[in-house]
């Protein structure tokens, strides 16, 4: 037990250190928000001095009705995300001056100083060529020079590093007891690296030189691809597919699972909720089951479902059915329990039978709650299907991104995440629209 606390404490400290490290960036971002706000108000005041009701309020802080989402802020916020994304990926969509400093690419030289066993010293120059990924340039031509140390050529790909066996062409060798004592005139040893302006030179344990060109501030493609390459991937994957499966197929499979799983969950969950809301016996029978199953995250059921039903459609749909079932049952139950007793009394004293009360009072009264539950259930189902596909699937948008991640196709991973977000948002919008259209009396009782 004590060991666990010690370990977790260590983790916590590591985390806190990273958080502290991130603080300047957070402060920078908040500064940007405030700066944009300041500029926006200045510009707006210049353009027009509006005198609407809200602008004339003296009390706006704490007045919830005075807080209206500022469209300009939303637009700036989203544009800024893309600008930051583009700036740190060297996007071609942005003018060059907005780019963060990129990795060093091109030719440069540094010198090293060798000390032979007999104390003789000599300098040699290394001609370095740093090229971008995918290029295969020829090594720079090196002229033969006199002395015990000969000049070298080094070809490195940007973001990578390379060992330089400097003694390969020199007259003195590491075996012969020669060693490097300085780079560009600065002393170097195993613990002290030398910054050469376009990169970093380190001395390895075996005495060779390790050169790492400077990476700049931009992200490498496999960490974060530029927006346009994600877009290009979207086009190419939607036309040609990825690993022989088209994007439409991936998305349709995921949506199919969600819709079928949700529909089954609702078809069973809603009557179950009604039964629990209307009968003591059913309430008693199912309460323990529902109350226990509800807090179990559907993701925790994935291994069991795979054991029982395999990784095919059946397993996925069982999982989504279970994800939707409890939410819908609880929604329907509270919809029934939430019916105002005066409405039921009124209906009885207007001569309605039990059946008519169910049909004309309880069901319509519970619809708003059921819609709320359906919105939640759809969200949970969408999240669950992606997670289930990440674990095991042949097709589906989750499968697509996990396969892409194994090949470091980060652009596909990003594209998949954005699509998942857009679809999730679309589902929620659709449900909200349906709710507004089908249960206009929601919240109006």
């Amino acid at each position: 037990m004590g060991q666990i606390f010690a370990d977790l404490g260590g983790e916590l400290i590591t985390l806190l250190i990273s958080v502290v490290g991130a603080l300047p960036y957070v402060a920078l971002y908040v500064g940007l928000i405030l700066l944009a706000s300041f500029l926006y108000t200045q510009v707006k005041q210049r353009l027009s001095a509006t005198q609407d009701y809200t602008s004339l309020k003296t009390v706006t802080f704490g007045d919830e009705s005075a807080v209206i989402s500022n469209k300009a802020a939303s637009v700036i916020s989203i544009v800024l995300i893309f600008v930051i994304w583009g700036a740190f990926t060297g996007s071609s969509l942005l003018p060059k001056f907005l780019h963060a400093p990129g990795p060093f690419v091109g030719e440069a030289t540094f010198t090293y100083t060798v000390e032979a066993e007999d104390g003789q010293k000599a300098d040699a120059t290394v001609n370095v060529l740093v090229h971008e990924a995918g290029e295969k340039p020829e090594a720079p031509v090196v002229a033969e020079n006199d002395g015990i140390a000969k000049d070298d050529a080094l070809v490195v790909q940007a973001y990578r590093s390379k060992l330089l066996r400097w003694d390969a062409n020199d007259e003195v060798t590491r075996k012969g007891g020669a060693k490097i004592i300085a780079v560009d005139g600065q002393p170097i040893d195993r613990d002290t690296d030398v910054q050469v302006g376009f990169g970093r030179v380190a001395l390895t344990d075996k005495g060779t030189l390790n050169f790492e060109p400077s990476k700049g501030w931009q992200m490498e493609n496999i960490w974060l691809p530029a927006p346009e390459s994600v877009w290009k991937r979207l086009i190419s994957v939607s036309q040609d597919g990825y690993q022989n499966v088209t994007l439409a197929e991936h998305l349709s499979y995921s949506l199919f699972r969600v819709i079928v799983g949700f529909a089954l969950g609702a078809a069973v969950g809603i009557p179950l909720g009604y039964a629990m809301g209307l009968s003591n016996w059913f309430r008693g029978w199912f309460d323990p089951i529902v109350e226990f199953m509800r807090p179990v995250p559907p993701l925790a059921l994935i291994p069991l479902v795979i054991i029982w039903a395999g990784i095919g459609e059946q397993g996925k749909i069982i999982l989504l059915f279970l994800a939707a079932l409890w939410i819908m049952a609880i929604g329907a139950r509270s919809g029934v329990s939430g019916v105002n007793i005066t409405k039921v009394h009124a209906a009885y004293s207007l001569g309605a039978s039990k059946r008519q009360i169910l049909r004309h009072v309880i069901i319509p009264n519970s619809l708003p709650e059921i819609f709320t539950a359906a919105r939640v259930a759809m969200g949970v189902c969408w999240g669950t299907v992606v997670a289930a596909e990440l674990v095991a699937a042949e097709k589906g948008v989750g499968k697509m991104i996990v396969a892409a991640s194994k090949f470091q196709d980060t652009d596909i991973v990003l594209m998949g995440i954005i699509l998942i977000g857009i679809i999730g948002f679309g589902i929620d919008m659709l449900m909200r629209w349906a709710e507004k259209y089908l249960v206009p009396w929601k919240g109006k009782a």
Partner: protein
Amino acid sequence: MRRHSDAQCQIGTMSVTSEKDTSAEQGLSIENLSMRFDLPNGSHVQALKDVSLDLKQGELLSVLGPSGCGKTTLLNIVAGFLAPTEGRIVLNGHQVFGPDAERGMVFQQGALFEWMSVRDNVRFGPDMKGMPKSESAEIVDHLLDVVGLQDFKEKMVYELSGGMQQRVALARCLANDPDVILMDEPLGALDALTRERMQSLVLKLWKETGKTIILITHSVDEALLLGERLLVMAPRPGRIHKEYRLPFADMGVGADLREVKKHPDYAPTREEILNMIWNMEEEIMGRTEESA
């Protein structure tokens, strides 16, 4: 102001039991009603004790009393929502065992079906009986005319103001043509002006339809103006404290209710009832302080 010629209109109290008419004529009789609620902690509350009352067809009874005197319990028993521990309710010769369309109810608020239009709310009763739409449409049109909501027929009920909603509730109750209308503070949630207009409407509907009405209210003025008979109930146990027969309801039909209040008997009666309820409230307060 319309003077009422009926000599019976003098104010006075009378023994409730002496009026009891055992012949099975049309009317509502409440016979020796007692209601006891057992509480989980073993004690019990005597909500009503030995309440008896007879109402002839077409009488309007208003019920007043401090909170906890069992007025709403009484109404719920008459409506059939509660079964009394002792006694029974007899309507037109048959005993009441549960809610039925013959006893309509108008609630304070929240009883309209907000998923239905005004029209669908009003024709709910006829619909449940299976009356053809063509037939119920006539009833609905007539009643919406009476309550002045013809133009709002297609509106959803949540689009209406509180006063309009209560008019819909009245129309909905009348559409079912019940023998008895039970009103549980139907005007309690309305503002003073709307309330006055609604009081006139209740009187008008009462006279026009000849329904037996039991009206529960917290307002002494409302009880005086609307109650042909007025019952003051006392709490712990809930029982009938005093009954009045009043001329004001008859005077108020089609007249200005503010004029009715100028009747020489109005203010003294009002004062007497207010004192009565005040004393009961004082007594309750005293008792709670003692026990505390």
